[in-house]
Amino acid sequence: MSQEAVARSAAIAAKKKFNWQLWGLLFVLPEIIIFLMFLWIPIVKGVVYSFYNVDFVNGNSFVGLQNYRDVVSSEDFWMAIRNTLYYMFLCVIIGFWVPAVVAIAVSELKRFQGLARVAGYLPSVIPAIVLYGMWVWFYDPIGPINTMLTSLGLEQIDFFSKGMSMVSIVIMETWQNFGGAVLIYIAAIVGIPKDLYEAAEIDGASVWQRIRSITLPSMKPLLILMFLLQIINTSQSFQAQMAMTGGGPDNATLTYLLLMYREAFTYLHFGKATAMGSMLFGVMVVLSFLYLKLQRRSETA
């Protein structure tokens, strides 16, 4: 090979690399601009509010960390953090595994697979009035669940007691929300080449072994992503709590976001509300940093 040819191929390689970079930048640039304009600018302004006494008519006045001090010094704030952690824990225990299992099961159906796929997602279009009204009735002392328990000679369940209310809400939310994740998992499962199963079966792998060694590993990146997103989502939950119990009884279902929502829209303390939002933001970002660090360490080890 002549020197010229080597130089040329190096130049082509360099150009290709440069082109790659250019293409990459070109592809993410619109999205970066969109995020900047419609998310980051408002977010930064929102965080700035947290250092001000917000007044939309006469102008804001700087109050330093006062909003943060007020928020942290309230008993409800710490109660809300405890409740939110408990809620997040329950959601993982009760809710996280359901969509994955259902997705695998539904993808094995021979008939009515179409209906079964979307059925789980139907609650997303049921108006809140109908949805919450239905669950309040399900949980009613003379509602279907308790009537069934009584007829079986069992003890009635007080679904809205101090101890049970959060569990009741998580059960309802799992029912309400698992369908979206099912669709995502199914989208991944349909992409698994079927010949892998064929080959495994010929090798004598049992059904369970096939799921464990083919299906689940294929879903692994998604499972990790969905877990991460569930943690983020559940840290910001408030709607079901607001609709079902209003945070009660005795603040047993008062989540962090519900408290923040009250500050913003019931007490109209926007400064305090944004301070709460900013604190949650800070904690989550720090946690994800730590997670990335730990992950990198385990990768290098």
């Binding site: 939309f56 002392p141 209003g246 603040n251 007490y267 109209l268």
Partner: protein, 487 residues
């Protein structure tokens, strides 16, 4: 070719923004009678967009003025009809005024954004509870001068001006008000063969009646107090008031929590004994709508609400006959005691961001028919229209006028003409005694009291006095101590 794509995508982005900016201002809709068209409000007051600010200035200089007034939602056909007639009357008297309607209803979830973006209507209806909230945040214009120059300033009902008077200034025009009452479903009483309690009833009568009509196996509760959200605190406060208590006291420039008083303990003991007697719904988590729905379903014999509001919902949307509903005052603690209940109601707010001329016009609009025959006639024909649709008109019990005045009598006579008007027992009206809500941080206080109420509903063997004291000291240190009272 690569370059081309790059440029194309940049152009695409910028052109999108340009068209977007263009279309934002261009889209306008011919204002139809009942449809909100707040583009006018936005374009006038949108100071952030350079070109629209100029339009606002030119408009302010000239005599013609445009105001956006509180509209009605499409289902309130009779009210819309009357509103349009009133607009016509006002326009013929003031030809230079253009009136637009906005059917937005006041909502704490939205008012902050509306004020920040300056697209709230020129005048809107709000609740008496919100008086101080709106005034302190400058979301309601100071109307003191306008009211003082008004011919009818001395004819206003003082019980209604008090809640909208903050630090000596008046921030709203009163409309009507209610005192909290207890609404009974007579049918449940009749089915159980239980005689109705006397109108001048006491707490013991309430417990007694609730026990007799109670039927937990069928899911029928004797009494439905609200237990979810701030409504729980709001409902309980009636008993606190009836026992002679206060939510908070103001003295020496300090707000002090007072609901942990002897009266507070008595009121909480009442809730405890209702709970112990098992006459409440098993599910404590009932908000305003939940409680009224249970009442409409016949799952509860008594519910607590603002004067005729529960009756209105039960009759006009709940399918209960008007003859099966009767309204009682809040029972007195002991025989012969006062039937004090929380006072609530609505008042008109004027947008402080509107120009002075707009504010003045809006004030004229609000008050133009106050104390006139047109006002009475408008409601008269609204009731007539309702009759054709088999709807019952449920009036409030307190109005902007003084009850003993000539005008008040004219109004009462008009109501008496109709047979589709819900009537209160005349004895009831003399028993009702309204007391305004907590002046400072009412919502936060209700939230705190709600947790007390929920404790009683869900926990056994409570030390009630301790529960009250803990809540009082918590709200004292976290909220009240931070309030600075303007002297």
């Amino acid at each position: 070719m690569k370059k081309l794509t790059a440029i194309a995508s940049c152009v695409l982005l910028t052109s999108m923004l340009v068209t977007a900016c263009g279309s934002g201002g261009d889209i306008k809709e011919p204002a139809s009678n009942n449809v909100s068209s707040s583009t006018a409000a936005t374009s006038e007051t949108n100071t952030s967009g350079g070109d629209t600010a100029a339009a606002g200035e030119t408009e302010a200089k000239q005599e013609p003025v445009t105001i956006t007034v509180q509209g009605q939602k499409p289902d309130k056909k009779e009210a819309i009809e009357q509103l349009n007639l009133k607009i016509d009357r006002f326009k013929s008297a003031n030809p230079y005024v253009t009136i637009k309607t906005d059917d937005w209803e006041y909502n704490p979830n939205e008012i902050g954004i509306k004020m920040a973006a300056n697209n709230a209507p020129t005048e809107f209806t709000s609740y008496l509870t919100e008086g101080r909230t709106l005034a302190e945040r400058s979301w309601a214009a100071d109307l003191t001068t306008l009211i003082n120059n008004w011919t009818h300033k001395d004819d206003l009902n003082p019980i209604m001006t008090k809640p909208v008077t903050v630090d000596g200034k008046i921030y709203g025009v009163p409309v009507d008000a209610y005192v909290m009452t207890i609404t009974l479903n007579k049918k449940i009483f009749e089915e159980k063969g239980v005689p109705l309690p006397p109108l001048d009833w006491t707490w013991d009568d309430l417990i007694d009646a609730a026990k007799k009509v109670n039927d937990p196996a069928k899911g029928i509760a004797g009494f439905i107090p609200m237990g979810k959200g701030n409504e729980a605190g709001w409902n309980w406060t009636n008993f606190l008031y009836a026992a002679g208590g206060d939510v908070q006291t103001i003295a020496d420039g300090k707000v002090t929590a007072a609901f942990n008083s002897e009266a507070g303990l008595k009121a909480l003991q009442l809730y405890q004994s209702l709970k112990d007697a098992d006459v409440l719904p098993k599910n404590w988590a009932l908000g305003y709508g939940d409680a009224l729905n249970l009442f409409n379903q016949g799952r509860g014999a008594m519910v607590m609400c603002g004067s005729g509001n529960a009756a209105d919902a039960a009759i006009n949307t709940g399918g209960i006959s008007k003859d099966d509903i009767i309204v009682y005052p809040i029972p007195s603690m002991t025989k012969g005691g006062k039937h004090t209940g929380v006072l609530g109601g609505s008042f008109k707010v004027i947008n402080p961001k509107a120009s002075e001329q707009e504010q003045k016009t809006a004030f004229d609009w609000i008050t133009s028919e106050y104390y006139t025959d047109d006002f009475v006639n408008a409601i008269d024909s609204e009731i007539t229209t309702r009759k054709n649709e088999n709807k019952i008109y449920v009036p409030q019990t307190i109005f902007y006028w003084k009850p003993e005045s000539e005008f008040g009598k004219k109004f009462t006579d008009m109501l008496a003409k109709h047979d589709n008007v819900f009537t209160y027992d005349p004895a009831l009206l003399s028993l009702l005694e309204g007391k305004p809500e907590a002046e400072y941080e009412a919502q936060q206080t209700y939230a705190e009291i709600s947790t007390i109420v929920q404790k009683v509903f869900t926990t056994k063997n409570l030390d009630l006095q301790k529960v009250l004291n803990d809540a009082a000291s918590k709200i004292q240190s976290e909220v009240y101590d931070k309030i600075q009272i303007k002297q």
